[in-house]
Symmetry: C2
Subunit: 735 residues, 2 copies
């Protein structure tokens, strides 16, 4: 017994030592020499949440890093910012006020511990916002708060004028709020306090100070996992590479209680699997032996400056577009009140009340012990905006970009700034807006061509290994393209195999052998967008314009068949549950049935699906129940301010009772009503060696496109490019 | 009888007068003030073919227009050009030699009339080209000629060294060669020699000198239309607009014999349908009352110049790519011998032997008399390259573009230059090649982002009203994106309706009411690409990597299901006839089964389909028989040098016996053989008012993407952008 105690003590001491070492090893890497400001949480967010934050009564000036200063236009001092628009996000001062109000509220005052999982603007009612015009006073500012207090989740609103707190809901039927950054970071440390964990690490020949761990949401797979906030942690060797993701300590999974940090269970099945070598895994430019210079410098240049302005920090006005833009901790980017100018009347016409990334669903296709649960919902579990890192000027966005910051609250409610989180820039790729030449047949000397210039709003979220680039691209012809790019680093699996020739035909790798001992596991990505279209007003209808083969009758025509467009107005939600079919094609129109063009067509926008993939999982599979919002590619629901998040408000460990699929199955009426369009962009990803050690970007997009919205081509009258307007440029080095 | 004769004489005289007037009205419009050269057939091709051409023994210097001089790099004098590469197109001198050889050949010498429908390089055998290296002598230069002699079609080869002529084939089972430009232009004049035609025009209140006519291929609809070259002609009013396409003289169709110019039949059913007004139809910038200035000048700038060179006029070398590029009268752009540099070995590796637009199929969806036959095949009927007009510098392509000319032969064999037919430029849209930031979870200070720069090869064909923009876009990560943009002007139908409220519910418009009396008829576009992939050599296999739902067995996993990749190597052609299914997805790999990566994966490229539409017409419908190459989206055939044109060599009036579908149904072996991949990009187009009077560009694309072709990410080592490399620019006006 005594020796056992001594052994325990020794182990514990060693563990503490390793924990200290580990904490040290997690200091910014390489050392944060570029961090010139205490207030900018751009590159250093874990510390942000405990140190460099905006405490009320301690305003300090913001020092910008040189790169940001040269690339971003002059920015406001966040600590003195005030809201100008009903949809403007909560300011530093407002966030501090929420924190102060809550800390003196009975619920929080008496609690042993609490955490604020979300503090965002409670948007005023839609009808109020629609009536509001610039110059009018704002509506009472309200905060929407999701808090965990003494182990229970609460949804509250806080009135910033009256300081009144309303507790709306304290018992979601299942699921927990989005993790805080503190939840995630502390989960990565917790296993090191467990001796068994430390022992298996060292037994695998890995130094504990080389270990980096990731917090992995565990989905939901039955009662065993209910009634407490759980997380799984898996670890990697950081030795000799910044790309630890390529060095999994395979088969080791630590189940943690997120609230107590207690290790509930350790599953340790991969001891025979070697940790893949570090060779060729580091992707940092500084670590490359050779450099590959393929391209001369190239840049998008606007000698007279950009064509857009951003009024009051959030109202973007560009060409014929105007929209409100803000950062959101869960959705990332929120585009509101998008309007386009009618070229005939000059009037700004409503297109979309609100559009954002509602949820992501990323199921991995490996049913084995250390992998089956990987079925991420990146917005509701991790916070798609929380993971949106500062953009790299000149590389994430071109030189002509403007940058916008996010202002968020940490788990204790203290506000912090995520700088350069969104960029806005005009793009010209050399594409053509419209053109016509007369051909030799008619012999007319006509060649009319207009260049295509677009406005891009971009963010890039790094949800641990993966990077999602989300673009909202506005075109002058009224089209909005929403594009998602996938880059970053694969989630890989260790294997004993070094070559495919070691395999017999029967085995299932669940993926591709990417390098010696590294398997890239097959997975899907689904990104579901909430698109509250308001086509010339809120009451709209959803119309499927189905192209059907029509056989001609005997003697009608030398043709046997043609395609006929059959319009089908969806009456209820189930009419609008759409699985796209190549051989039964439709256009999908959101129309205003009460507003017609001059010749009598209803004004509308159509959804043009992109390179969609559909989820093929069993509908009764627990992950697919939770991700049931991917059962169709398109849904239309009546507007309901509580139905924003396709996987439910409380997605973490949810069981799927609050998904878009559940709402839609109520089959409410949707004809000539205020309705919301939902679209899911999908990717199947079978990894290939080119994705190792970091993936070239893969993109897919869909469009919202005017269809009889304008009387005619809205960019008929734009001018062509002429030489005299274009810039005179010289190499910077010669200047 | 006498009075009848007199009437006939009068009518005939009036017709002649109108014909003269009409010819005058077809002079370049507006007057050709910018045409500064007699030799450049850029803007004036109908005359080109009869006047401003390169006659042998009459070389003249080429005068460039100012726009071309400032934008294109120094160009060769075409009349003295010599070939440098086995795939270089026939030069002016060679085309003249072919003409001279043929004119003294028995077949042509004795003929009353002949026309050369195609004179192009007969490419040397593939195995010879593959062995050839720069510096070696060229193989004997050969021309491939398709001629019509005394009403018969002939396929010949002409040896330019020996002057030997081989007549290969003189009796295609059905179909005729691609029309000459002279066929098309003369067809537009022919109706005016017909009194009945002129009478109906004047009776509709239209002046004959306001009439413009279009030559419309008539497909094939049975024996009545066989055994002579026929064409249908429909006409428009040019009064008060350059956009005569929007003013159809509806229901009037003239069936012509293309060889005799005889009017075979006039169908005149639309007398009650008004000709739509000219108001708001002109799209020329000079004709706009108001101008819409939305955007400040914007440009892609490369202060140190482009990163590519074009050696010997045709060999493009950019970044890690190299390929041979040429203009072709039928295909438009031909990309050959595309190779990419392996970043590890430095070796140029084969990717694609030859890629081009093989055929287009554009069926309209209206079975009525004046519309049912509109089922265009733009490459084989009209010549996709013949219709590729000179690009507009600064608007069709950005300022940093290089332009390449096409050198073609007219119907009498005389060569002419289609200047600026292709452009090549580097594009940077602000996109991201790859990226990763470390998230707050791990806290590492990493943000590595690489910009994405591509090389675009572009042409734009104006097949009468429609404009097709075809881009071949090369990426440094090894991806090739083939993008088709549709712009130009709709083919519209006259109607008595001015507003949708005049319709009762039962009627079928076959399209959308776009403006008063104008219907945009529903139609499809299919563009079929011939992609002779050679992945590290010619012998390849086609593998479907099917993602199948796999249900787990009882107790195997908490998961019920996952997706499993099942590889299926196609043995024969029928295994590779693919209709894409969203709910039964596959990846489509072209692999080299004998070449493996370091870890044992076969090297390959995958076809990534884009926003595809499938043809839904009845397979027994005559147009679909001819367009049967659209019955599947993907086909793979063994390499056969005679199988280049998916609709057949003689597409005009063909009956569908020589299509890709027929070849593929032979079900030849395709495993580990020299094989060709075919992909069809499809669009359904239900017109909308925004398409009036000219359409904003709609694009779709597909990718050829390396899949385990490289050992790892081939652009891992490219540098990020840094400020000091970017240009210093100022507005031109201030300079």
């Amino acid at each position: 017994m005594e020796s056992k105690s001594f052994f325990r003590f020794t182990l514990f001491s060693v563990a503490i030592a390793f924990l200290l070492l580990f904490t040290w090893s997690h200091l910014p890497y390489p050392p944060p020499s570029q961090v010139t400001t205490l207030l900018d949480c751009a590159s250093n967010s874990p510390w942000c949440t405990s140190k460099n934050r905006f405490q009320s009564k301690q305003p300090t000036t913001i020092t910008k890093t040189p790169a940001a200063t040269t690339t971003a236009t002059k920015r406001r001092r966040h600590e003195s910012a005030v809201p100008h628009h009903p949809l403007d996000p909560l300011t530093i001062q407002e966030l501090n006020k929420v924190r102060s109000i809550l800390s003196s509220h009975a619920l929080f005052k008496s609690s042993k511990s609490y955490a604020l999982h979300s503090v965002v603007l409670e948007e005023p009612d839609k009808d109020l916002v629609l009536e509001w015009v610039k110059g009018q006073p704002l509506f009472p500012r309200m905060a929407s708060v999701i808090a965990r207090v003494n182990g229970e989740s609460h949804v509250l609103t806080v009135n910033l004028e009256t300081s009144q707190v309303n507790v709306l809901n304290s018992a979601p039927s299942s699921g927990y709020p989005t993790m805080t950054i503190e939840d995630m970071t502390s989960a990565t440390w917790a296993p090191f306090s467990n001796a068994e964990f430390n022992q298996t690490i060292t037994q695998r020949g890995v130094n504990l100070d080389d270990v980096a761990c990731l917090p992995i949401s565990l989905g939901w797979f039955g009662p065993k996992e209910e009634n407490r906030r759980l997380i799984k942690v898996q670890c990697y060797s950081m030795k000799d590479t910044a790309n630890f993701y390529m060095r999994p300590i395979e088969g080791l999974t630590v189940l943690l209680d997120m609230d107590t940090k207690e290790v509930v269970e350790i599953s340790d099945s991969g001891r025979t699997i070697p940790i893949p070598k570090a060779t060729n895994t580091d992707y940092r430019y500084s670590e490359q032996n050779q450099q590959l210079n393929l391209i001369n410098p190239i840049s998008i240049e606007q000698p007279k400056g950009p064509s857009f302005v951003i009024e009051d920090e959030h109202l973007v006005k560009w060409a014929n577009w105007e929209f409100h833009l803000k950062a959101d901790p869960r959705a990332g980017v929120v585009v509101s009140r998008a309007k386009v100018r009618d070229p005939d009347s000059g009037i700004m016409r409503d297109v979309m009340y609100k559009g954002f990334t509602s949820e992501l669903f990323v199921p991995y296709m490996d049913p084995t012990d250390a992998w089956y649960f990987k079925t991420y919902m990146d917005a509701g579990e991790y916070g798609f905006g929380l993971q949106a890192m500062p953009l790299d000027p000149l590389n994430d966005c071109p030189r002509n970009a403007y940058y916008m910051d996010g202002v968020f609250a940490a788990g204790d409610g203290v506000p912090y700034v995520r700088s350069n989180m969104i960029c806005v820039f005009e793009s010209y790729a050399g594409d053509i807006g419209w053109r016509h030449s007369e051909s030799p047949i008619t012999g007319m000397d006509i060649k009319e061509v207009r260049p295509k210039v677009t406005l891009v709003v971009r963010m890039a979220a790094s949800v641990a290994n993966y990077d999602y680039i989300v673009d909202w691209e506005f075109q002058t012809d009224g089209l909005i393209r929403i594009k998602v790019g996938l880059s970053g680093i694969l989630m890989v699996k260790g294997t004993t195999y070094e070559n495919m020739n070691q395999m017999n035909g029967q085995e299932n790798l669940y993926g591709t052998l990417l390098s010696e001992n590294v398997i890239g596991v097959i997975h899907d990505h689904y990104i579901t967008f909430h698109l509250d279209m308001d086509i010339d007003g809120s009451d709209n209808s959803f119309v499927k314009v189905n192209l059907k083969r029509q056989e001609t009758s005997q003697g009608e025509s030398p043709r046997k068949s043609y395609l006929k467009a059959v319009r089908d107005v969806a009456k209820t939600e189930k009419d609008a549950q759409v699985q796209i079919k190549l051989y039964d094609p439709s256009e999908f129109h959101m129309i205003n049935p009460t507003k017609k063009t001059r010749v009598g067509n209803p004004v509308g926008y159509k959804l043009v699906p992109g390179g969609t993939a559909a989820s093929l999982l069993d509908h009764d599979d627990p992950p697919q129940k939770r991700g049931a919002f991917t059962n169709n590619q398109i849904w239309v629901t009546p507007y309901n301010r509580s139905e924003q998040w396709a996987g439910g408000l409380f997605v973490y460990q949810s069981q799927g009772e609050d998904t878009l699929a559940v709402w839609s199955d109520r089959d409410r009426s949707i004809e000539n009503k205020d309705i919301v369009l939902w679209y899911t962009l999908g990717f199947h990803h079978i990894p290939c060696q080119e994705d190792f050690p970091i993936m070239p970007t893969v993109s897919s997009s869909f469009d919202l496109k005017p269809v009889n919205f304008f009387e005619s081509n809205p960019i008929l009258r734009i001018p062509p490019n002429v030489e005299k307007d274009l810039p005179v440029c010289k190499p910077a080095a010669s200047g």
